[in-house]
Amino acid sequence: MGDYRELWSNLGMDLDKHDILCEALPEAFGSIYLTQENRPENMNYFNYALAEVHGARIEEINEAKANGKKVVGTFCVFVPDEVILAAGAVGVGLCSGSQFWIEDGEKVLPRNLCPLIKAFVGAKVSRTCPYFQSSDMIVGETTCDGKKKAYEIVEEYMPVHVMELPQMKREKNYEQWKDEIKLFISRMEELTGNKVTVENLKKAIDLVNRKRRALKRLYDLRKNTPSPISGLDALLVTQVAFLDDIERFIENTNALCDELEERVKNLEPTGKKRIMITGTPMAVPNWKLHSIVEGLDAEIVVEETCTGTRYFEGEVSTEGDTIDDLLKNLADRYMNINCACFTPNNDRTEDIIKYAEEYNVDGVIYYNLSFCHTYAIEYKKVENALAEKSIPLLNIETDYSEEDSGQIKTRVEAFLEMIGSGEKLHTVS
């Protein structure tokens, strides 16, 4: 990474504290990612994107700012990127995936709270996230009580716009969400001084759909046995998607997929167990579960999470001639995300069962960040449904700290033994 201290200093960052983070990240990335064997050539771009995640990308964003663009930080797959892009702004995902920020988060939040929320608030409070520091506004949503209330605290530091996400999926809720998107458009127009038109909104919809298609293409390739790409690498691609320039991301993801399409022609069976992760998101640099699972004799082939299928499944239709038509299309697509904040949310269970078949998985790991109640409670429903289909399931509840890594490893290992050597164990008495 180059020297960005002047830039960071201009962003009002706490340089000394940030240095500690900058030292730790390459080490973690090196030991988890760069030690993987036989990685695709085209992962180099994503290595670079990650290495420069607080560097070149921040410089680029701030150049755009100097040219009059506004930067909007987001935190959830329900916030429609299309609106941000149509208003001529830059959308970025916010820091929320490291234990590093927890301590500062706990200065202003209760301890018994999801680590993702503690981390994002900590990142802002400690001034160590250049994405937060570069943002003119952040857009929140009411997907859980923790986040909803945490935005009130963040608002003391910077402008926040909160979108009210309905928590049921009745017809009137689709209408409500459509109205919320409309309000968001007004707020974005106010912030940027640009008008959102049918033309630029359609263009933005098309662009974001292309991003979804690139990710879908990547995930479809993972359906091969064995997968041509590790779960760790695929996770990195999705994580970068939240931060990167969208056009460049699409181009590089498609280049990666071109390579993987060649790879799948010559893959030898590995015998690795194929695992699905379902549950809560994994923001950069949260690679904890993936590195544990793939350190054993298994590969993660799909994530039914917000840093997985929920991010890219389903496109927004560009049909229609008015803003109202497009608003409806946006509302329809986003309301179809099967987040545990909805009640009921049976479609998520159906998605999991469908993916289990499509990706030919041997077992599912339910990943639950501590204190994420909606997902924790929904576990029972998923457990019952998967038991009916005889799909093995393991529940892992954890946070960002490393103290339980040994225990998680034992559980995952036992899970793999359970789904793996059943027949073999049967024959010996």
Binding site: E397, E403, D404, G406, Q407, T410, R411, E413, A414, E417, M418, S421, G422, K424, L425, H426, V428, S429
Partner: protein
């Protein structure tokens, strides 16, 4: 050929050795500070018993399984306990309760094969360590505490956390509560945790207790009363992990 299972737990290390026919002996020793030292001591013990590692297959299991350099394979304690409990009890359908020094596991097994399992969260509540600490606080051994509990009236220990429970026990002693009652409260507290785990996981078939508490008759009696079922076990059940490991060594 010998088949050796080595189960290095957080508190105790267990070794079981089979020849081509049957189980020939078991050894138990404290794990101590360093599991590598422990695995060296186990090797000496095996030498003394004339088990030549050149002529043996070794499976290591338990928390210290990676610290056995001469193991041919490592397998988790969950799979090994399932296998070992099946060998000891021989029931097609069993629910194994393993109370270890550091964690508690509920393992459903069918014909020796693990079909599902659940482990306690990352703390000492509901583990053997909890009982040991409380016995220390009361100034008695585990066996004595368990025996005292039978003669006591239940007294509610409210703290889940081992550290807080310890202070609670100290203040109960200070307030003049009967030691038998405190012992009963301590045992009931851990039985409560285990029952919650058991109910969460679901009991299928016979309940079988493995781990270091397998010979504490009064503990077994109280657990059995609480879950309203017979709790099966055997004096060999503390070796369930190492026995399972040794049996699985036959597959190598």
């Amino acid at each position: 050929m010998y088949y050796v299972g080595i189960d290095i737990g957080s508190t105790a290390s267990k070794v079981s050795v089979f020849d081509d026919q049957e189980l020939i002996f078991n050894i138990v020793m404290p794990t101590g500070w360093n599991s590598v030292d422990t695995s060296n001591k186990i090797k000496e013990e095996l030498d003394k018993n004339k088990i030549d590692l050149e002529n043996a297959k070794v499976v290591a299991t338990g928390y210290g399984r990676i610290s056995v350099p001469y193991a041919d394979k490592t397998i988790t304690e969950i799979t090994c306990h399932g296998k070992g409990a099946y060998y000891l009890a021989g029931k097609d359908m069993m629910t194994v309760v393993d109370i270890g020094g550091q964690d508690t596991k509920i393992i459903n097994i069918e014909n020796g094969r693990v079909t599902n399992f659940l482990m306690n969260d990352k703390c000492a509540a509901g583990t053997g360590r909890f009982l040991e600490l409380m016995a220390n606080t009361l100034g008695v051994t585990l066996e004595e505490m368990s025996y005292m509990a039978l003669k006591g009236e239940d007294l509610n220990i409210t703290s889940m956390c081992t550290v807080f429970a310890e202070s609670e026990v100290i203040s109960l002693i200070g307030s003049g509560a009967k030691r038998e009652d405190i012992a009963r409260g301590v045992i009931n507290s851990i039985i409560g945790r285990i029952t919650t785990l058991l109910n969460k996981q679901g009991i299928r078939g016979d309940v079988y207790l493995t781990g270091g508490l397998c010979e504490l008759a009064s503990f077994i009696q109280l657990l059995s009363e609480k879950i309203d079922r017979k709790v099966n076990t055997s004096s060999l059940a503390r070796y369930a992990g190492s026995i399972g490991g040794a049996l699985l060594a036959k597959n190598i």
